[in-house]
Symmetry: C3
Subunit: 208 residues, 3 copies
């Protein structure tokens, strides 16, 4: 439980910074940046908590989370000046945020007593929905739905591996580290070598 909470905090910070970058690309003002950061940082976990009927929601039970996102949004000008120099490095925190949220999602779902497939599904939702919501709010076609390097698949694979470690009764921290490492490395490799699934298409001569 406590390991889950610690990495949750880290994931919120990483996701909020990702939200700032996303919103700034659209030229939003500070309130828009705050709203997008909230959506990216809390979207997935909120859906998970609503689906599992966990109360209070993780960001209502930890009221310093929204406060931190607010401070990050206020500092967005400074963050952007710093972050723009390290942009090529950003794929790393993005992958880490997805990894951390995926594992907290899977872990909380197991605690709530659901079966393995649903636990993995809730992990993937927690890991990817924030990014989908951020893209929708910024009026872009979500990465999840474009032909782009594997994204949800990395989250899906890592969640199964974390689950496997838990079923082998390995210590929770070990399972978390293994799961997160798999997701991050898988995602980095997918981006580096542009691993994509082929599009599923109807074979039709004419258009819709």
């Amino acid at each position: 439980m406590s390991a889950l909470v610690a990495i949750e905090f880290l994931a919120v910070v990483v996701a909020a910074i990702y939200g700032v970058l996303l919103a700034a690309r659209q030229g939003m003002d500070v309130m828009g940046v705050f709203a997008v950061s909230l959506a990216v940082a809390f979207g997935g976990g909120t859906l998970r908590d609503l689906f599992l009927d966990r109360t209070p929601l993780f960001w209502i039970g930890n009221p310093h989370y929204p406060l931190i996102v607010f401070i990050i949004a206020l500092l967005s000008g400074a963050i952007l000046r710093f972050v723009v120099r390290i942009r090529p490095l950003l794929v790393f925190p993005d992958a880490m945020g997805m990894a951390l949220f995926t594992l907290t999602g899977t872990g909380y779902a197991l605690e709530a007593g659901v079966g393995p497939f649903v636990a993995v599904l809730l992990g993937v939702i927690t890991g990817t929905f924030g990014g989908v919501l951020g893209d929708v709010l910024c009026n872009e076609v979500p990465q999840l739905f474009r032909p782009s390097p594997l994204y949800a698949t990395c989250s899906f694979t890592g969640a199964w591996i974390y689950l496997g470690c838990r079923y082998l009764e390995w210590p929770e921290l070990t399972s978390l580290v293994i799961g997160a490492t798999v997701i991050v490395l898988f995602r980095l490799a997918a981006v580096r070598w542009n691993w994509c699934f082929p599009a599923v298409r109807e074979k039709r001569p004419s258009g819709p």
Copy 2:
């Protein structure tokens, strides 16, 4: 109750296949197809369960539902090859899915003890929200919001008729069959003869 569960299963399968068709038209990969199918199959029912505070959510309490959607997404290539030949027939399962979800929604809402108008409303939400969500994820203007053949109206009418049968204390299965038949026939007729409501417009000389 048991009749509701049986038709729910059928509605999930029909909606997932509809989701595959929707996603394939956008050239998504298998994960995107899975995500859209999940949204179409579970969107309406999830909203209903959250609104009525029913726990666990119907697809968490029936963990074989997401598994079936996953298998349908994996088989999407084969499904598409088969389905493309019977495309003109697809309006029928689409209408049936809407009918089945509408009636489960209305039925569960009545069980939760809400009044008739809210029960019908929750039925229509259950019946139509999955399709709206699928359209939004595929970046199309939802059918519900375009001038197009009657859609929510069919769901609305059938829900009232189902409600009427229940108030007359007819057996549940009879009520379900009557309600579903009305929705399916109404919807098929609306598509066949292109029944539309006129647009509600401001009469103004100039643009917005």
Copy 3:
């Protein structure tokens, strides 16, 4: 409590009329108008109730609310004919709707025992999410995310002032009136003199 309920009713009516205007601009039919009005009137409060785990939802516990929205949608033709003449005055009910929803949101959140920052956040979500949802359904970039006169900021400021009055143990009605007045006047001034925040941007030479 009772003062909150009274202004909630007013806010629902105002928001539903705003939804009619929004939907009519897109040339939707009467069902589309009804759906958009429901989303604008109930979107924010539904999110608040789900986040706070309040049951039943405010519009399920007050089943005359959806009925009123339905009647407003049915009368949308007449409403539009009347409203078009007073369009320049519409900024007033819009600001009032936001003010009323913000304060009910903050008030209910305090009742649920959350801290001040989260209470204000839930107030702002209640006050602005309906409008965001309406814009998304009508395929427009939400006002919250465009460079436009201060919007969420007015809601945010008024919620803090309402909270301050409550902490000073002023009577609830006084606190509500003061908070609402601040929001409405702040918003009207922002529209009148076009107060905007500057966009938060990365300073980069080239495009994304």
